[in-house]
């Protein structure tokens, strides 16, 4: 607030950052042991854990697994967390009926039984899901986990007024009319008033959906379906010390400072088919300086980044040069894109939208995102490669990774003519001011659109206020934001878990809107309806592909990249693999250490 | 004959070959030059005079004539606390009671300061430290040179304040300078200077910052104290009126040099330098009208870097062309004896000056 003032220092700051980057590159790696592929320091090699398991056999029981992070979770409460790394990490201390398979790559996106003895017995109409619980499943105080605990845990999703923040899919599917008031306003004695879930005995739980949803079991694999024991529910404060059902329990937690998990001695290996529980202790240390964090990862002080969103540019440079063997380059599941709100003229006309798509230089946008390694492959459509039904770059309706990858001025002018704006037009790009990479892409887009006669201003808005600023359609229209730069990743790997809030007309909200393009397409809405009623995987994939095509044909989006990250894995780590279940992150729950020291 | 002072053992030999003087204070050919970016500033450029104990010397001149620089030179304050690369350059001899100060060890000179020679400054408000009480400052001055405890020193301070006429000295001793009036402050300053019974007291414009009624009181005080302590006193002023009654001898300075010196009555009644005439003309006198009172010397003081050639006063002198051959502008006049112990530096002949004084100047005064 003081001492470090004035905007005039910006330039100095940039120059300083450049010098520091150079210094860090040299200083952080005195040894310069270039280990590209299994080497003397024991690193598994570049991309060795990307979609495959690295060094599984070297994992030993014991030791302290050390996470570092520049960001704390939104909440460690299983009902309230929405950050991907929180869901991934929460498997240490919470179990669900079913969970993502502990497998690398695509297989990790599948669902596997956890507390339940098997996957759901689903009725023919797809509306009834029945599970039986395993034997020997216990809470951290040794009491057994019952079906009622699971029901209560799920009911907490209804208490959005107290427990805001988490995903609400279960609430929308089980109680679309919003009849249940949540456990805290529940008048019934046992607070288990939610009609859609039945618990005939402690070992059985039955879900009765008013309307089928083929992704329901995926939703039950979400952290928000975790059991919570009523007598241990501290409501809004639950996230400070969730009561453990997994192999580890909270020892200490200071928000924004550190978190330590230790073994839950009541947890029994034989009751858990998926968790290996290698380390004795798991710690997270929160940093405020991403460069410092990366330098410490490289120095070997910590094992991996909790957030799993890739290294900072400086750390990346050093790591790629000197420690490539410690890096993986997975696809993140995120697509980075520009979207055109139809409420802002002339983007109500699809030809004007397509003029922007053709006019854009896709290679330069990719470069602005960080290039093919740190940024990702050129995005050609709107379904992430990790989502079933995706065709990846094979589906490229505007030839963005092909003939038009450097922009097609002639085609763009053609579209402009068809739109009735042969001489181009003026509009504004809205971009978050706290994401330098997004600002860079906006500038790149601005430059290439100039060539086709489209003049754009760039408006950098307060990124922390995203839901209030671009999440408000009336504000978007008022400000004339014809192009919004954003990114989106799947909550769970399905077209519903990714695209429903973006493309379904029911999801156009007055505030907190995510359907920025304001898509009101009966065909798309209908396809989503078909999707939730289609139970077989092949059928689901086909519909997902079709929805993607419809969205692309409408020209609502200009995808930049299928995002890739460059994540650090310390040489101590064993049994490391990335999983599509958590958007290309390492699967935390089964990480082990090679040495217990 | 050479007379060693008490601390004579540590005092260096005189610089020149000339013998040690007999006068209590003797200044010989003192030069004080300051190097600056614009050139060498010759603030004092060859000044000589003597002063006996119990006598008062008035040094008179405009600001910039070198009178304050001379007094600081005697006190050794050009060398003490000089920082940086540019130092004042002093040459000549200053003899105080047989000790030559310029060649002496600076620390020995420091020990003389405040004890054998003391100084009163023009503005007592800025010359007293605002953060210390009057008492603390007098006590400090006393204890530098007397190994006594604070209590004794404070008694001495009260005694001195009493002596200089400060009412309730035992209370006022704990006051801060800003709590005193201007006259009281100067009294306190005098008390501080005299606390060690110095044999030489230099008063640099002691009354300039005070109003007229207080001026007289302070001058009376200095005179009384001199009588009591028998010190030698130098009063530096731009105002001849201040020294009219006080000084035994007068020294008129112009452009860093002495232009006239002699017994006070001689300089007053038979001045032999046109600059002295100008000063007398600008002297305020109570028996004159307001209008006539001040006839300032026309023009401005000379640059001390490029002192006018010839007589430094020539650009302002109304009689510059009286001597022949443009000599006033080419040759620097030396001090010549114009009467008993009366010296002046002017190219005009004795007769010319006598005539101009009696016919043109004196009647107008």
């Amino acid at each position: 607030m003081t001492t470090q003032r004035t905007s005039g220092r910006r330039k100095q700051a940039l120059a300083a950052a450049a010098v520091v980057a150079a210094l860090l590159t040299t200083a952080a790696c005195g040894g310069g042991d270039s280990d590209n592929g299994g080497s003397k320091n024991g690193a598994a090699g570049f991309d060795a854990a990307n979609n495959k398991v690295a060094q599984a056999s070297e994992a030993k029981k014991g030791g302290e697994l050390k996470f570092a992070s520049a960001q704390d979770a939104d909440s460690w409460d299983t009902t309230r967390g929405y950050y991907g790394f929180m869901w991934n990490f929460s498997r240490y201390y919470s179990r669900q009926l079913v969970t993502n398979a502990t497998e690398p790559g695509k297989a990790g996106a599948g669902v596997t039984p956890d507390l339940a003895t098997g996957l759901a017995k689903v009725s023919d109409d797809g509306k009834t899901y029945t599970y039986t619980l395993r034997d020997g499943i216990t809470w951290e105080d040794g009491k057994p986990i019952t079906s009622k605990d699971i029901k209560y845990g799920i009911e907490r999703v209804w208490a959005q007024d107290v427990l805001s923040g988490g995903p609400t899919y279960l609430k929308e599917v089980l109680d679309p009319k919003g009849e249940y008031q949540g456990p805290y306003k529940d008048k019934s004695k046992d607070k288990l008033g939610l009609k859609a879930i039945e618990t005939p005995d402690d070992k059985t739980i039955v879900f009765k959906l008013p309307k089928a949803n083929s992704d329901f079991e995926e939703m039950l694999a979400l952290t928000s379906a975790s059991p919570v024991r009523q007598d241990k529910d501290t409501k809004s404060k639950y996230g400070l010390h969730p009561f453990s059902s997994g192999p580890y329990k909270f020892q200490s937690y200071s928000p924004g400072k550190d978190l330590v998990l230790v073994r839950n001695t009541e947890w029994k290996q034989e009751s858990d088919p998926i968790r290996k529980a290698y380390p004795d202790k798991i710690s997270i240390k929160f940093f405020s300086n991403a460069n410092d964090l990366d330098a410490r990862l490289i120095a070997g002080d910590y094992d991996l980044d909790l957030a799993q969103t890739g290294m900072s540019p400086q750390g990346r440079t050093t790591a790629l040069k000197q420690h490539k063997g410690n890096l993986d380059n997975p696809v993140s599941g995120y697509i980075r894109y520009a979207v055109f709100p139809q409420s802002v003229k002339p983007f109500d006309n699809e030809h004007c939208r397509k003029a922007v798509i053709y006019g854009a230089d896709h290679v330069s946008l990719q470069t602005a995102r960080g290039g093919p390694v740190a940024g990702g492959d050129i995005g050609t459509n709107m379904l992430p490669p990790s989502v079933p039904g995706s065709e990846g770059q094979k589906y490229d309706p505007y030839e963005m990774a092909g003939a038009n990858k450097n922009g097609n001025v002639a085609k763009a002018k053609e579209e402009l003519k068809a739109c009735g704006k042969p001489n181009g037009f003026k509009t504004t790009i809205a971009v978050r001011n706290n994401k330098p990479v997004e600002v860079a892409t906006a500038e790149s887009l601005q430059a290439s659109l100039k060539k086709v006669g489209i003049t754009v201003d760039i408006d950098q808005y307060d990124g922390a206020q995203t839901p209030g600023i671009i999440g408000s359609p009336s504000n978007v229209k008022k400000k004339g934001y014809g192009i919004i730069i954003m990114g989106w990743g799947p909550d769970f790997p399905s077209v519903q878990g990714y695209g429903l809030p973006l493309w379904h007309s029911d999801y156009i909200l007055d505030s907190g809107n995510n359907n920025y393009a304001l898509i009101k397409d009966k065909t798309i809405d209908g396809l989503f309806d078909d999707y939730v009623n289609t139970l077989d995987d092949a059928g689901k994939e086909k519909i997902a592909t079709e929805i993607n095509h419809k969205v692309m044909e409408g020209g609502y989006y200009l995808p930049f990249v299928f995002e890739k990250f460059l994540n650090w894995r310390s040489s101590r780590l064993a049994n490391v693999y990335t999983t599509d279940g958590y958007s290309g992150m390492y699967d935390f729950v089964n990480l082990g250490l090679k040495s217990t020291k | 004959m050479t007379e060693l002072s008490k601390s004579g053992a540590a005092v260096g030999e005189p610089t020149g070959t000339s013998p040690a003087p007999t006068a209590f204070l003797e200044v010989r050919d003192l030069k004080v030059h300051f190097p600056t970016d614009d050139g060498l500033v010759k603030s004092v450029d060859g000044l000589s005079f003597q002063l006996e104990k119990g006598k008062t010397l008035g040094i008179v001149g405009e600001s910039g004539s070198g009178k304050s620089v001379t007094s600081l030179g005697i006190m050794g304050l050009h060398t003490a606390g000089q920082y940086g690369r540019r130092k004042a350059q002093l040459s000549g001899e200053i003899w105080l009671d047989g000790t030559e100060l310029l060649s002496a060890d600076p620390d020995e000179v420091r020990k003389l300061r405040g004890r054998r020679m003391a100084m009163i400054f023009q503005d007592p408000l800025s010359a007293l430290h605002p953060y210390y009480t009057i008492g603390q400052q007098i006590v400090e001055a006393y204890r530098i040179h007397h190994d006594v405890d604070k209590k004794t020193a404070k008694r001495r301070a009260v005694e001195m304040l009493d002596r200089v006429g400060i009412p309730q000295p035992d209370k006022r001793v704990d006051s801060y300078p800003h709590e005193f009036s201007g006259g009281m402050r100067q009294r306190a300053m005098i008390a501080m200077s005299l606390v060690n019974n110095p044999e030489l007291l230099i008063a640099d414009e002691p009354t300039t910052a005070l109003d007229v009624t207080v001026q007289a009181q302070i001058l009376d005080l200095i005179r009384d104290l001199q009588k009591e302590f028998g010190s030698a006193v130098i009063i530096i002023t731009h105002d001849l009126g201040v020294v009219a009654e006080l000084a035994d001898d007068l020294l008129v300075m112009y452009g860093g040099r002495c232009v006239e010196r002699g017994p006070a009555e001689k300089v007053f009644y038979e001045p032999r330098h046109p600059y002295t005439w100008g000063l007398l003309g600008s002297m305020p006198r109570l028996d004159r009208d307001q209008q006539e009172r001040l006839i300032p010397v026309k023009g401005s003081p000379p640059s001390l870097i490029n002192v006018p050639s010839g007589c430094a006063f020539n650009p302002r002198c109304p009689y510059a062309d009286v001597p022949k051959d443009n000599v006033t502008r080419t040759v620097r006049p030396e001090l010549t004896e114009v009467g008993s112990k009366h010296w002046a530096a002017c190219h005009m002949s004795q007769e010319q000056r006598e005539r101009i004084w009696t016919e043109e100047i004196a009647p107008k005064l």
């Binding site: 607030m1 003081t2 001492t3 470090q4 100095q12 300083a16 010098v19 520091v20 210094l23 860090l24 939104d74 909440s75 929405y82 208490a159 959005q160 007024d161 107290v162 805001s164 609400t168 805290y184 306003k185 409501k235 809004s236 404060k237 200071s254 924004g256 405020s288 300086n289 410092d292 964090l293 330098a295 410490r296 922390a464 206020q465 839901p467 209030g468 600023i469 408000s472 809030p501 909200l509 505030s511 995510n514 | 006190m75 304050l77 606390g81 920082y83 940086g84 420091r110 300061r113 405040g114 003391a118 100084m119 503005d123 800025s126 007293l128 430290h129 605002p130 530098i144 801060y176 800003h178």
Partner: protein, 332 residues
């Protein structure tokens, strides 16, 4: 002196009330004018209107501002209870608000983090006073020399270089490069040497910036003071030059230095954001930064108030010291 103190205290109290008013206005009115909905950004990705409404209620965003100010003040003395949707949260006195983001009362967060920041600020202040004053005085006494010029060039560099540059540089060299210092924060109560090891680089980094400023100010002030008449008087008394400098010149030089110190310390307590961020120190600055990132208004509000209080107290202390040093001030 007593009257002076009472006046100062009264002025400080008035200032505090004004600050609270202003801070509240900023935090509660400006989002409204800017058309930003705090509750919506709070709810997150899937913001359905009912939860937005509930959150707004819980955060007290619907109450008029005077009611919010009143509740806040009351909370400081008697504690506060937030209740919404069957969830009751107690915030015991002194309650400086409650963060619904991290589910913590603000006061413990402040008391937890304050020592870190205080340690950082005080430790750095000791360093910069020692080095800044010494360099400034020496430069003033050796003005124009090679030493003086050298010191002033270094000082200029210190003033101009941003903290994240010097901070990252020192980390890169001493921590990652040479490995002399771990430079990770360890609480004082855990290990004194660990704490010292973790604080040295932040201290030096912060002190470098300030020492540079203080050296420049000290040099300028010292040179000015040395030209004062009363310094000449002190020499005329026959004082040794060292005593003149220490007793007479330094005391006067301290007045502007002290004024600066009060402001800087006060500001640092809430504003060492860059230093704390660079070195990942869990202090107030870091808390504010996190809070800004997370839109955690109560934390920002609490820290702002505590910081204002710190600045006020620091200035009050300076005012008192000022009066001790300069007797003329006591009259003002």
């Amino acid at each position: 002196m007593l009257a002076y103190l009472i006046r100062r205290l009264f002025a400080a109290a008035v200032m505090l009330v004004v600050i609270v008013m202003v801070v509240f206005s900023i935090f509660f009115l400006i989002p409204k004018w800017a058309g930003v909905d705090i509750a919506t950004s709070f709810v997150g990705k899937q913001a359905d209107p009912s939860s937005v409404k509930a959150v707004a209620e819980k955060l007290g965003l619907n109450d008029p501002i005077y009611a919010q100010v009143w509740e806040f003040f009351k909370g400081i003395f008697v504690g506060r209870t937030y209740s919404a949707g069957g969830d009751v949260t107690n915030c015991s006195a002194p309650c400086f608000g409650y963060s619904f983001r991290s589910e913590q009362a603000i006061w413990p967060v402040l008391t937890d983090r304050f020592p870190v920041t205080l340690g950082l600020a005080l430790g750095a202040a000791v360093l910069w006073l020692i080095f800044g004053l010494a360099a400034g005085v020496l430069s003033a006494l050796k003005r124009g020399t090679l030493w003086d010029r050298g010191a002033m060039v270094v000082a200029l560099a210190g003033v101009s270089l941003p903290i994240y540059f010097t901070g990252l540089l020192s980390l890169a060299v001493f921590s990652y490069g040479l490995g002399w210092l771990d430079a990770q924060y360890v609480p004082l109560e855990d290990s004194f040497t660990g704490w010292l090891g973790g604080m040295i680089l932040p201290w030096i980094t912060l002190a470098f910036l300030y020492a540079a400023m203080y050296a420049r100010i000290t040099r300028a002030t010292m040179m000015e003071i040395l030209g004062e008449d009363y310094i000449r008087t002190a020499r005329a008394k026959g004082l040794r030059e060292s005593v003149v400098i220490r007793k007479h010149a330094m005391r006067s030089t301290m007045t502007p230095i002290l004024t600066m110190l009060g402001m800087d310390l006060g500001a640092l307590i809430g504003g060492a954001i860059l230093t704390e961020t660079t070195f990942s120190l869990p202090g107030l600055g870091q808390a504010v930064l996190n809070a800004i990132k997370n839109q955690d208004l109560p934390v920002i509000l609490g820290v702002t108030l505590i910081t204002s209080l710190a600045v006020l107290i620091a200035n009050l202390v300076v005012d008192v010291l000022y009066a001790v040093i300069d007797p003329r001030v006591r009259l003002a």
